[in-house]
Subunit: 290 residues, 2 copies
Protein backbone atom coordinates (compact mmCIF):
# COMPACT_ATOMS: atom_id res chain seq x y z
CA UNK A 1 0.00 0.00 0.00
CA UNK A 2 1.25 3.42 -1.01
CA UNK A 3 1.11 6.26 1.48
CA UNK A 4 0.75 9.72 -0.05
CA UNK A 5 0.99 12.83 2.09
CA UNK A 6 0.68 15.77 -0.31
CA UNK A 7 -2.18 17.10 -2.39
CA UNK A 8 0.01 17.56 -5.45
CA UNK A 9 1.34 14.04 -5.38
CA UNK A 10 -2.13 12.56 -4.89
CA UNK A 11 -3.63 14.61 -7.73
CA UNK A 12 -0.83 13.60 -10.10
CA UNK A 13 -1.13 9.96 -9.05
CA UNK A 14 -4.90 9.95 -9.63
CA UNK A 15 -4.56 11.45 -13.09
CA UNK A 16 -2.06 8.77 -14.03
CA UNK A 17 -4.37 6.03 -12.69
CA UNK A 18 -7.19 7.40 -14.82
CA UNK A 19 -4.91 7.59 -17.85
CA UNK A 20 -4.33 3.87 -17.38
CA UNK A 21 -8.13 3.54 -17.59
CA UNK A 22 -8.34 2.13 -14.08
CA UNK A 23 -11.26 2.93 -11.81
CA UNK A 24 -10.88 4.45 -8.36
CA UNK A 25 -13.05 3.68 -5.36
CA UNK A 26 -12.67 6.37 -2.71
CA UNK A 27 -13.30 6.06 1.03
CA UNK A 28 -12.98 9.46 2.74
CA UNK A 29 -12.46 9.11 6.50
CA UNK A 30 -11.19 10.88 9.59
CA UNK A 31 -9.20 7.78 10.54
CA UNK A 32 -9.17 5.68 13.74
CA UNK A 33 -10.59 2.83 11.73
CA UNK A 34 -13.19 0.40 13.01
CA UNK A 35 -15.12 -2.31 11.19
CA UNK A 36 -17.39 0.33 9.68
CA UNK A 37 -14.54 1.99 7.78
CA UNK A 38 -13.06 -1.37 6.82
CA UNK A 39 -16.39 -2.56 5.41
CA UNK A 40 -16.38 0.46 3.07
CA UNK A 41 -12.86 -0.33 1.87
CA UNK A 42 -13.72 -3.99 1.33
CA UNK A 43 -16.74 -3.10 -0.77
CA UNK A 44 -14.70 -0.50 -2.70
CA UNK A 45 -12.10 -3.20 -3.36
CA UNK A 46 -14.73 -5.44 -4.96
CA UNK A 47 -16.11 -2.74 -7.23
CA UNK A 48 -13.01 -0.84 -8.44
CA UNK A 49 -9.52 -1.40 -9.77
CA UNK A 50 -7.95 0.65 -6.98
CA UNK A 51 -9.05 1.79 -3.53
CA UNK A 52 -7.96 5.17 -2.22
CA UNK A 53 -8.66 5.90 1.45
CA UNK A 54 -8.11 9.35 2.87
CA UNK A 55 -7.52 10.19 6.50
CA UNK A 56 -8.07 13.85 7.21
CA UNK A 57 -9.51 15.23 10.42
CA UNK A 58 -11.09 18.24 8.75
CA UNK A 59 -10.99 21.31 11.02
CA UNK A 60 -13.67 23.00 8.89
CA UNK A 61 -16.36 20.58 10.00
CA UNK A 62 -15.76 20.98 13.73
CA UNK A 63 -17.40 23.73 15.73
CA UNK A 64 -15.39 25.85 18.21
CA UNK A 65 -16.61 23.79 21.18
CA UNK A 66 -16.32 20.41 19.51
CA UNK A 67 -13.75 17.65 19.81
CA UNK A 68 -11.33 18.49 16.99
CA UNK A 69 -8.32 18.35 19.29
CA UNK A 70 -9.53 15.23 21.08
CA UNK A 71 -10.65 13.39 17.98
CA UNK A 72 -8.93 9.98 18.28
CA UNK A 73 -6.00 9.40 15.94
CA UNK A 74 -3.77 6.40 15.28
CA UNK A 75 -2.01 6.60 11.94
CA UNK A 76 0.11 3.52 12.33
CA UNK A 77 -2.73 1.20 13.22
CA UNK A 78 -4.92 2.74 10.52
CA UNK A 79 -2.25 2.09 7.89
CA UNK A 80 -2.00 -1.56 8.95
CA UNK A 81 -5.74 -2.09 8.88
CA UNK A 82 -6.21 -0.36 5.54
CA UNK A 83 -3.45 -2.51 4.07
CA UNK A 84 -5.03 -5.69 5.44
CA UNK A 85 -8.33 -5.04 3.68
CA UNK A 86 -6.60 -4.22 0.41
CA UNK A 87 -6.54 -0.42 0.20
CA UNK A 88 -4.06 0.57 -2.52
CA UNK A 89 -3.36 4.16 -1.52
CA UNK A 90 -3.67 5.85 1.85
CA UNK A 91 -3.88 9.62 1.43
CA UNK A 92 -3.04 11.61 4.56
CA UNK A 93 -2.67 15.30 3.68
CA UNK A 94 -1.70 17.95 6.21
CA UNK A 95 -4.03 20.75 7.24
CA UNK A 96 -1.73 23.40 5.73
CA UNK A 97 -1.68 21.55 2.46
CA UNK A 98 -5.47 21.24 2.30
CA UNK A 99 -6.04 24.80 3.51
CA UNK A 100 -2.94 26.85 2.60
CA UNK A 101 -4.87 30.02 3.36
CA UNK A 102 -8.33 31.08 4.45
CA UNK A 103 -10.91 29.72 2.00
CA UNK A 104 -12.37 32.33 -0.35
CA UNK A 105 -15.05 29.99 -1.67
CA UNK A 106 -17.82 29.03 0.75
CA UNK A 107 -20.21 26.16 0.17
CA UNK A 108 -23.52 25.72 1.92
CA UNK A 109 -26.72 23.74 1.57
CA UNK A 110 -30.22 25.10 1.95
CA UNK A 111 -32.03 21.78 2.49
CA UNK A 112 -31.44 18.62 4.52
CA UNK A 113 -29.45 20.47 7.22
CA UNK A 114 -31.76 22.40 9.52
CA UNK A 115 -32.61 19.14 11.26
CA UNK A 116 -30.76 16.40 13.16
CA UNK A 117 -27.03 17.06 13.52
CA UNK A 118 -27.22 20.12 11.27
CA UNK A 119 -29.15 21.98 13.94
CA UNK A 120 -26.75 21.30 16.80
CA UNK A 121 -23.59 21.48 14.68
CA UNK A 122 -23.78 24.75 12.72
CA UNK A 123 -21.17 24.82 9.95
CA UNK A 124 -20.58 21.07 10.16
CA UNK A 125 -22.07 20.11 6.82
CA UNK A 126 -20.68 23.22 5.11
CA UNK A 127 -17.24 22.00 6.18
CA UNK A 128 -17.99 18.55 4.80
CA UNK A 129 -19.16 19.97 1.46
CA UNK A 130 -15.93 21.91 1.13
CA UNK A 131 -13.54 19.14 2.06
CA UNK A 132 -15.34 16.58 -0.10
CA UNK A 133 -15.37 18.89 -3.12
CA UNK A 134 -11.63 19.27 -2.67
CA UNK A 135 -11.04 15.55 -2.16
CA UNK A 136 -13.22 14.64 -5.13
CA UNK A 137 -11.19 17.00 -7.33
CA UNK A 138 -7.89 15.68 -5.99
CA UNK A 139 -8.72 11.97 -6.15
CA UNK A 140 -11.24 11.91 -9.03
CA UNK A 141 -12.95 8.71 -7.97
CA UNK A 142 -15.50 6.75 -9.97
CA UNK A 143 -17.30 5.72 -6.80
CA UNK A 144 -17.23 6.97 -3.24
CA UNK A 145 -18.29 5.07 -0.12
CA UNK A 146 -20.02 6.27 3.03
CA UNK A 147 -21.53 4.52 6.03
CA UNK A 148 -25.20 4.93 6.86
CA UNK A 149 -24.46 5.67 10.50
CA UNK A 150 -23.87 9.17 9.18
CA UNK A 151 -27.17 9.15 7.29
CA UNK A 152 -27.48 12.92 7.18
CA UNK A 153 -23.99 13.12 5.71
CA UNK A 154 -25.07 10.66 3.02
CA UNK A 155 -28.08 12.87 2.22
CA UNK A 156 -25.83 15.93 2.00
CA UNK A 157 -23.25 14.21 -0.22
CA UNK A 158 -26.09 13.00 -2.43
CA UNK A 159 -27.17 16.65 -2.85
CA UNK A 160 -23.59 17.70 -3.60
CA UNK A 161 -23.01 15.05 -6.24
CA UNK A 162 -26.38 15.69 -7.90
CA UNK A 163 -26.33 19.47 -7.84
CA UNK A 164 -22.75 19.96 -9.00
CA UNK A 165 -22.75 17.04 -11.48
CA UNK A 166 -19.78 15.26 -9.95
CA UNK A 167 -19.30 12.19 -12.18
CA UNK A 168 -19.15 9.99 -9.09
CA UNK A 169 -21.43 7.22 -7.88
CA UNK A 170 -22.28 7.53 -4.20
CA UNK A 171 -22.46 4.18 -2.41
CA UNK A 172 -24.02 4.09 1.07
CA UNK A 173 -23.39 0.96 3.15
CA UNK A 174 -25.09 -0.32 6.32
CA UNK A 175 -24.01 0.70 9.80
CA UNK A 176 -21.70 -1.85 11.38
CA UNK A 177 -22.55 -2.69 14.99
CA UNK A 178 -20.93 -4.28 18.01
CA UNK A 179 -22.35 -7.65 19.14
CA UNK A 180 -24.63 -5.81 21.59
CA UNK A 181 -25.98 -3.49 18.88
CA UNK A 182 -23.98 -0.31 19.57
CA UNK A 183 -23.09 1.38 16.27
CA UNK A 184 -19.34 1.27 15.72
CA UNK A 185 -17.83 4.74 15.99
CA UNK A 186 -14.35 6.15 16.48
CA UNK A 187 -15.81 8.18 19.32
CA UNK A 188 -16.86 5.09 21.32
CA UNK A 189 -13.38 5.03 22.90
CA UNK A 190 -14.29 8.26 24.67
CA UNK A 191 -17.11 6.56 26.61
CA UNK A 192 -16.60 5.61 30.27
CA UNK A 193 -17.18 1.98 31.18
CA UNK A 194 -20.60 2.78 32.60
CA UNK A 195 -21.55 4.87 29.58
CA UNK A 196 -20.45 2.10 27.24
CA UNK A 197 -22.99 -0.19 28.87
CA UNK A 198 -25.76 2.38 28.67
CA UNK A 199 -24.94 3.26 25.07
CA UNK A 200 -26.57 0.08 23.77
CA UNK A 201 -29.88 1.79 24.53
CA UNK A 202 -29.61 4.11 21.53
CA UNK A 203 -30.04 1.18 19.17
CA UNK A 204 -32.52 -0.59 21.47
CA UNK A 205 -34.65 2.53 21.70
CA UNK A 206 -34.64 2.99 17.91
CA UNK A 207 -35.65 -0.66 17.47
CA UNK A 208 -38.45 -0.05 19.94
CA UNK A 209 -39.55 2.92 17.81
CA UNK A 210 -39.41 0.74 14.72
CA UNK A 211 -41.78 -1.72 16.40
CA UNK A 212 -44.37 1.05 16.68
CA UNK A 213 -44.18 1.69 12.94
CA UNK A 214 -44.47 -2.05 12.22
CA UNK A 215 -47.54 -2.13 14.43
CA UNK A 216 -49.17 0.60 12.35
CA UNK A 217 -48.38 3.80 14.23
CA UNK A 218 -48.27 6.61 11.64
CA UNK A 219 -47.65 9.61 13.89
CA UNK A 220 -43.95 10.56 14.11
CA UNK A 221 -44.42 12.59 17.30
CA UNK A 222 -45.61 9.56 19.27
CA UNK A 223 -42.68 7.45 18.15
CA UNK A 224 -40.14 10.20 18.82
CA UNK A 225 -41.52 10.60 22.33
CA UNK A 226 -41.32 6.88 23.07
CA UNK A 227 -37.75 6.59 21.84
CA UNK A 228 -36.66 9.64 23.77
CA UNK A 229 -38.24 8.35 26.97
CA UNK A 230 -36.30 5.09 26.77
CA UNK A 231 -32.95 6.80 26.20
CA UNK A 232 -33.59 9.23 29.03
CA UNK A 233 -34.62 6.44 31.38
CA UNK A 234 -31.84 4.02 30.53
CA UNK A 235 -28.79 6.26 30.09
CA UNK A 236 -27.02 9.08 31.89
CA UNK A 237 -26.66 10.87 28.54
CA UNK A 238 -28.46 14.00 27.48
CA UNK A 239 -30.61 13.61 24.38
CA UNK A 240 -29.69 16.07 21.61
CA UNK A 241 -32.54 14.93 19.38
CA UNK A 242 -34.82 12.08 18.46
CA UNK A 243 -36.37 12.78 15.07
CA UNK A 244 -38.38 10.93 12.47
CA UNK A 245 -38.14 12.54 9.01
CA UNK A 246 -38.46 11.64 5.35
CA UNK A 247 -35.27 10.24 3.87
CA UNK A 248 -33.14 11.45 2.11
CA UNK A 249 -35.06 14.75 1.91
CA UNK A 250 -35.05 15.07 5.70
CA UNK A 251 -38.34 16.92 5.81
CA UNK A 252 -40.82 16.81 8.65
CA UNK A 253 -43.70 14.44 7.96
CA UNK A 254 -46.99 14.38 9.81
CA UNK A 255 -47.86 10.88 8.63
CA UNK A 256 -45.56 7.97 7.83
CA UNK A 257 -46.27 6.90 4.26
CA UNK A 258 -42.80 6.85 2.72
CA UNK A 259 -39.16 5.99 3.42
CA UNK A 260 -38.17 7.64 6.70
CA UNK A 261 -35.24 7.96 9.06
CA UNK A 262 -35.60 7.53 12.80
CA UNK A 263 -32.46 9.07 14.27
CA UNK A 264 -30.99 10.12 17.58
CA UNK A 265 -27.96 11.90 18.99
CA UNK A 266 -26.99 11.69 22.66
CA UNK A 267 -24.36 13.61 24.58
CA UNK A 268 -22.29 11.60 27.01
CA UNK A 269 -19.54 13.08 29.13
CA UNK A 270 -16.82 13.06 26.47
CA UNK A 271 -18.61 11.74 23.39
CA UNK A 272 -21.69 12.61 21.39
CA UNK A 273 -23.08 9.45 19.81
CA UNK A 274 -25.47 9.16 16.87
CA UNK A 275 -27.48 6.29 15.47
CA UNK A 276 -30.41 5.78 13.11
CA UNK A 277 -32.65 3.34 11.29
CA UNK A 278 -33.96 3.84 7.75
CA UNK A 279 -37.47 2.41 7.52
CA UNK A 280 -40.02 1.73 4.85
CA UNK A 281 -43.56 2.98 5.45
CA UNK A 282 -44.48 -0.45 6.88
CA UNK A 283 -41.65 -0.27 9.40
CA UNK A 284 -39.38 -2.80 7.70
CA UNK A 285 -35.70 -1.90 7.48
CA UNK A 286 -34.47 -0.43 4.20
CA UNK A 287 -31.65 -2.72 3.08
CA UNK A 288 -30.17 -0.67 0.28
CA UNK A 289 -30.26 3.12 -0.02
CA UNK A 290 -30.28 4.16 -3.64
Amino acid sequence: MEIIRTVNEMQTRSLSILQDNKTIGFVPTMGFFHEGHLSLMKEAKKENDLVVTSIFVNPLQFGPNEDYDNYPRNEKMDAERAKEVGADILFMPGVRDMYPKKMMIDMSINERVNVLCGRSRPGHFEGILTVLSKLFNIIKPNKTYFGMKDAQQVAVVDALVQDLNFPIELVALPTIREADGLAKSSRNVNLSKAERKEAIWLHKALKHGQRFVVDGEKNPAIIEKEVKKIIENETSGSVDYVELLSYPELKNVSFIDQQVILATAVFFERARLIDNLILNADGSLVKQIK
Copy 2:
Protein backbone atom coordinates in the same frame (compact mmCIF):
# COMPACT_ATOMS: atom_id res chain seq x y z
CA MET B 1 -18.06 19.74 -35.21
CA GLU B 2 -20.29 17.78 -32.88
CA ILE B 3 -23.24 19.47 -31.24
CA ILE B 4 -24.26 18.04 -27.86
CA ARG B 5 -27.41 19.19 -26.12
CA THR B 6 -27.67 17.10 -22.98
CA VAL B 7 -25.63 16.97 -19.79
CA ASN B 8 -25.57 13.17 -19.76
CA GLU B 9 -24.31 12.89 -23.30
CA MET B 10 -21.61 15.52 -22.72
CA GLN B 11 -20.41 13.90 -19.50
CA THR B 12 -20.22 10.48 -21.16
CA ARG B 13 -18.43 11.94 -24.17
CA SER B 14 -15.85 13.71 -22.00
CA LEU B 15 -15.09 10.59 -20.02
CA SER B 16 -14.49 8.71 -23.25
CA ILE B 17 -12.19 11.48 -24.55
CA LEU B 18 -10.18 11.28 -21.33
CA GLN B 19 -10.02 7.49 -21.59
CA ASP B 20 -8.41 7.99 -25.00
CA ASN B 21 -5.84 10.12 -23.14
CA LYS B 22 -6.76 13.22 -25.12
CA THR B 23 -6.71 16.66 -23.52
CA ILE B 24 -9.70 18.97 -23.47
CA GLY B 25 -9.56 22.76 -23.74
CA PHE B 26 -12.82 24.29 -22.55
CA VAL B 27 -14.27 27.69 -23.47
CA PRO B 28 -17.41 28.43 -21.42
CA THR B 29 -19.55 31.16 -23.03
CA MET B 30 -23.02 32.64 -23.17
CA GLY B 31 -22.89 32.61 -26.97
CA PHE B 32 -23.37 35.41 -29.55
CA PHE B 33 -19.75 35.00 -30.49
CA HIS B 34 -17.43 37.85 -31.35
CA GLU B 35 -13.69 37.90 -31.96
CA GLY B 36 -13.09 37.71 -28.22
CA HIS B 37 -14.76 34.31 -27.90
CA LEU B 38 -13.13 33.08 -31.11
CA SER B 39 -9.67 34.08 -29.87
CA LEU B 40 -10.21 31.85 -26.83
CA MET B 41 -11.21 28.91 -29.03
CA LYS B 42 -8.22 29.45 -31.33
CA GLU B 43 -5.82 29.44 -28.39
CA ALA B 44 -7.54 26.37 -26.90
CA LYS B 45 -7.12 24.64 -30.26
CA LYS B 46 -3.37 25.24 -30.17
CA GLU B 47 -2.92 23.90 -26.67
CA ASN B 48 -5.23 20.86 -26.49
CA ASP B 49 -6.28 17.80 -28.47
CA LEU B 50 -9.94 18.83 -28.45
CA VAL B 51 -11.82 22.08 -27.90
CA VAL B 52 -15.19 22.04 -26.17
CA THR B 53 -17.18 25.28 -26.23
CA SER B 54 -20.33 25.65 -24.20
CA ILE B 55 -23.14 28.09 -24.85
CA PHE B 56 -25.37 28.52 -21.85
CA VAL B 57 -27.05 31.75 -20.85
CA ASN B 58 -27.02 30.97 -17.15
CA PRO B 59 -30.12 32.32 -15.39
CA LEU B 60 -28.39 32.00 -12.00
CA GLN B 61 -25.93 34.81 -12.80
CA PHE B 62 -28.54 37.37 -13.84
CA GLY B 63 -30.30 39.58 -11.30
CA PRO B 64 -34.07 40.10 -11.41
CA ASN B 65 -33.72 43.45 -13.21
CA GLU B 66 -30.98 42.37 -15.58
CA ASP B 67 -31.04 41.42 -19.24
CA TYR B 68 -31.46 37.63 -19.10
CA ASP B 69 -34.40 37.71 -21.49
CA ASN B 70 -32.79 40.25 -23.81
CA TYR B 71 -29.36 38.69 -23.81
CA PRO B 72 -28.51 38.33 -27.52
CA ARG B 73 -28.67 34.80 -28.92
CA ASN B 74 -27.85 33.33 -32.33
CA GLU B 75 -27.24 29.61 -32.17
CA LYS B 76 -26.87 29.06 -35.88
CA MET B 77 -24.26 31.74 -36.45
CA ASP B 78 -22.42 30.68 -33.28
CA ALA B 79 -22.22 27.10 -34.52
CA GLU B 80 -20.77 28.26 -37.84
CA ARG B 81 -18.19 30.47 -36.22
CA ALA B 82 -17.13 27.89 -33.66
CA LYS B 83 -16.71 25.35 -36.45
CA GLU B 84 -14.62 27.78 -38.51
CA VAL B 85 -12.08 28.25 -35.72
CA GLY B 86 -11.85 24.53 -35.07
CA ALA B 87 -14.02 23.84 -32.06
CA ASP B 88 -14.63 20.09 -31.86
CA ILE B 89 -17.69 19.99 -29.66
CA LEU B 90 -20.34 22.65 -29.09
CA PHE B 91 -22.23 21.96 -25.86
CA MET B 92 -25.61 23.71 -25.60
CA PRO B 93 -27.54 22.32 -22.64
CA GLY B 94 -31.06 23.42 -21.75
CA VAL B 95 -31.90 25.25 -18.55
CA ARG B 96 -34.04 22.36 -17.25
CA ASP B 97 -31.19 19.96 -17.87
CA MET B 98 -28.66 22.12 -16.01
CA TYR B 99 -31.10 22.97 -13.21
CA PRO B 100 -33.66 20.14 -13.00
CA LYS B 101 -34.79 21.50 -9.65
CA LYS B 102 -33.95 24.26 -7.22
CA MET B 103 -30.28 24.03 -6.24
CA MET B 104 -29.71 22.71 -2.72
CA ILE B 105 -26.00 23.54 -2.78
CA ASP B 106 -25.08 27.23 -2.72
CA MET B 107 -21.64 28.56 -3.54
CA SER B 108 -20.34 31.97 -2.58
CA ILE B 109 -17.08 33.83 -2.33
CA ASN B 110 -16.01 36.05 0.54
CA GLU B 111 -13.24 37.96 -1.26
CA ARG B 112 -12.83 39.62 -4.66
CA VAL B 113 -16.56 40.36 -5.00
CA ASN B 114 -17.55 43.31 -2.86
CA VAL B 115 -16.06 45.62 -5.49
CA LEU B 116 -16.55 46.39 -9.19
CA CYS B 117 -19.38 44.37 -10.78
CA GLY B 118 -19.86 42.30 -7.63
CA ARG B 119 -21.26 45.34 -5.86
CA SER B 120 -23.83 46.27 -8.49
CA ARG B 121 -24.67 42.70 -9.47
CA PRO B 122 -25.46 40.84 -6.22
CA GLY B 123 -25.55 37.08 -6.79
CA HIS B 124 -23.80 37.36 -10.15
CA PHE B 125 -20.53 35.71 -9.19
CA GLU B 126 -22.29 33.15 -6.99
CA GLY B 127 -24.20 32.10 -10.11
CA ILE B 128 -20.95 31.88 -12.06
CA LEU B 129 -19.29 29.74 -9.37
CA THR B 130 -22.20 27.32 -9.49
CA VAL B 131 -22.48 26.99 -13.25
CA LEU B 132 -18.72 26.65 -13.71
CA SER B 133 -18.44 23.99 -11.02
CA LYS B 134 -21.14 22.08 -12.86
CA LEU B 135 -19.55 22.60 -16.28
CA PHE B 136 -16.10 21.65 -15.00
CA ASN B 137 -17.54 18.39 -13.62
CA ILE B 138 -19.44 17.67 -16.82
CA ILE B 139 -16.64 18.50 -19.28
CA LYS B 140 -13.57 17.71 -17.16
CA PRO B 141 -11.20 19.98 -19.08
CA ASN B 142 -7.44 20.15 -18.70
CA LYS B 143 -7.46 23.87 -19.42
CA THR B 144 -10.17 26.51 -19.45
CA TYR B 145 -10.10 29.86 -21.25
CA PHE B 146 -11.47 33.24 -20.23
CA GLY B 147 -11.16 36.75 -21.64
CA MET B 148 -9.65 39.53 -19.57
CA LYS B 149 -12.51 41.89 -20.39
CA ASP B 150 -14.23 40.04 -17.55
CA ALA B 151 -11.23 40.51 -15.26
CA GLN B 152 -13.21 40.12 -12.06
CA GLN B 153 -14.63 36.86 -13.38
CA VAL B 154 -11.08 35.67 -14.01
CA ALA B 155 -10.16 36.54 -10.41
CA VAL B 156 -13.20 34.64 -9.13
CA VAL B 157 -12.52 31.57 -11.28
CA ASP B 158 -8.92 31.66 -10.09
CA ALA B 159 -10.21 31.50 -6.50
CA LEU B 160 -12.57 28.63 -7.39
CA VAL B 161 -9.92 26.53 -9.08
CA GLN B 162 -7.38 27.13 -6.29
CA ASP B 163 -9.70 26.67 -3.32
CA LEU B 164 -11.49 23.55 -4.54
CA ASN B 165 -8.42 21.96 -6.18
CA PHE B 166 -9.97 21.63 -9.63
CA PRO B 167 -7.22 19.96 -11.72
CA ILE B 168 -7.66 22.60 -14.39
CA GLU B 169 -5.31 25.27 -15.71
CA LEU B 170 -6.97 28.66 -15.99
CA VAL B 171 -5.83 30.62 -19.07
CA ALA B 172 -6.73 34.32 -19.26
CA LEU B 173 -6.38 36.01 -22.66
CA PRO B 174 -6.30 39.69 -23.63
CA THR B 175 -9.42 41.70 -24.39
CA ILE B 176 -10.16 41.91 -28.10
CA ARG B 177 -11.08 45.41 -29.31
CA GLU B 178 -12.75 47.05 -32.29
CA ALA B 179 -10.51 49.21 -34.50
CA ASP B 180 -11.54 52.28 -32.48
CA GLY B 181 -10.67 50.64 -29.16
CA LEU B 182 -14.12 49.58 -27.91
CA ALA B 183 -13.87 46.23 -26.14
CA LYS B 184 -15.75 43.58 -28.11
CA SER B 185 -18.86 42.46 -26.25
CA SER B 186 -22.03 40.60 -27.13
CA ARG B 187 -23.92 43.47 -25.52
CA ASN B 188 -22.54 46.08 -27.96
CA VAL B 189 -25.42 45.28 -30.33
CA ASN B 190 -27.76 46.81 -27.78
CA LEU B 191 -26.10 50.25 -28.13
CA SER B 192 -27.81 52.97 -30.15
CA LYS B 193 -25.83 54.52 -33.00
CA ALA B 194 -25.01 57.57 -30.90
CA GLU B 195 -24.06 55.45 -27.87
CA ARG B 196 -21.80 53.30 -30.03
CA LYS B 197 -19.81 56.38 -30.93
CA GLU B 198 -19.58 57.54 -27.34
CA ALA B 199 -18.65 54.07 -26.08
CA ILE B 200 -15.08 54.41 -27.35
CA TRP B 201 -14.53 56.77 -24.42
CA LEU B 202 -14.46 53.92 -21.90
CA HIS B 203 -11.18 52.67 -23.33
CA LYS B 204 -9.90 56.18 -24.02
CA ALA B 205 -10.58 57.24 -20.45
CA LEU B 206 -8.83 54.18 -19.04
CA LYS B 207 -5.82 54.89 -21.28
CA HIS B 208 -5.85 58.43 -19.96
CA GLY B 209 -5.79 57.01 -16.42
CA GLN B 210 -2.93 54.73 -17.37
CA ARG B 211 -0.96 57.78 -18.50
CA PHE B 212 -1.19 59.19 -14.97
CA VAL B 213 0.33 56.02 -13.53
CA VAL B 214 3.10 56.08 -16.15
CA ASP B 215 3.78 59.67 -15.17
CA GLY B 216 4.26 58.63 -11.53
CA GLU B 217 0.87 59.25 -9.95
CA LYS B 218 0.54 56.79 -7.06
CA ASN B 219 -2.83 57.83 -5.63
CA PRO B 220 -5.72 55.69 -6.95
CA ALA B 221 -8.36 58.26 -5.95
CA ILE B 222 -6.92 60.91 -8.26
CA ILE B 223 -6.82 58.54 -11.20
CA GLU B 224 -10.33 57.22 -10.59
CA LYS B 225 -11.63 60.77 -10.48
CA GLU B 226 -9.93 61.73 -13.77
CA VAL B 227 -11.24 58.66 -15.59
CA LYS B 228 -14.74 59.18 -14.29
CA LYS B 229 -14.75 62.83 -15.34
CA ILE B 230 -13.88 61.93 -18.93
CA ILE B 231 -16.59 59.26 -19.24
CA GLU B 232 -19.18 61.58 -17.74
CA ASN B 233 -18.15 64.42 -20.06
CA GLU B 234 -17.92 62.41 -23.25
CA THR B 235 -20.85 59.97 -23.00
CA SER B 236 -24.55 59.99 -22.22
CA GLY B 237 -24.01 56.90 -20.07
CA SER B 238 -24.22 56.71 -16.33
CA VAL B 239 -21.03 55.57 -14.60
CA ASP B 240 -21.57 52.53 -12.36
CA TYR B 241 -17.99 52.56 -11.12
CA VAL B 242 -14.43 53.55 -11.89
CA GLU B 243 -12.10 51.68 -9.56
CA LEU B 244 -8.39 51.03 -9.21
CA LEU B 245 -7.61 47.94 -7.11
CA SER B 246 -4.91 45.33 -6.63
CA TYR B 247 -5.19 42.44 -9.05
CA PRO B 248 -6.23 39.62 -8.77
CA GLU B 249 -6.94 40.18 -5.05
CA LEU B 250 -9.20 43.15 -5.87
CA LYS B 251 -8.36 44.94 -2.64
CA ASN B 252 -8.35 48.68 -2.18
CA VAL B 253 -4.87 50.15 -2.29
CA SER B 254 -3.87 53.57 -1.07
CA PHE B 255 -0.62 53.60 -3.06
CA ILE B 256 0.17 51.96 -6.41
CA ASP B 257 3.15 49.66 -5.87
CA GLN B 258 1.93 46.38 -7.37
CA GLN B 259 -0.10 44.92 -10.22
CA VAL B 260 -3.44 46.72 -10.35
CA ILE B 261 -6.66 46.83 -12.33
CA LEU B 262 -8.20 50.09 -13.53
CA ALA B 263 -11.78 49.22 -14.39
CA THR B 264 -15.07 50.84 -15.28
CA ALA B 265 -18.70 49.94 -15.89
CA VAL B 266 -21.12 52.31 -17.61
CA PHE B 267 -24.87 52.01 -18.04
CA PHE B 268 -26.23 53.00 -21.44
CA GLU B 269 -29.91 52.87 -22.34
CA ARG B 270 -30.06 49.14 -23.11
CA ALA B 271 -26.55 47.92 -22.33
CA ARG B 272 -24.17 48.03 -19.41
CA LEU B 273 -20.59 48.00 -20.73
CA ILE B 274 -17.42 47.12 -18.85
CA ASP B 275 -13.74 47.56 -19.63
CA ASN B 276 -10.42 47.48 -17.79
CA LEU B 277 -6.66 47.65 -18.02
CA ILE B 278 -4.27 45.55 -15.93
CA LEU B 279 -1.19 47.62 -15.10
CA ASN B 280 2.19 47.11 -13.52
CA ALA B 281 3.22 49.52 -10.78
CA ASP B 282 5.04 51.62 -13.39
CA GLY B 283 1.90 51.95 -15.49
CA SER B 284 2.95 49.54 -18.25
CA LEU B 285 0.33 47.09 -19.47
CA VAL B 286 0.52 43.58 -18.07
CA LYS B 287 0.78 41.31 -21.09
CA GLN B 288 0.18 37.95 -19.50
CA ILE B 289 -1.85 37.28 -16.34
CA LYS B 290 -0.52 34.30 -14.49
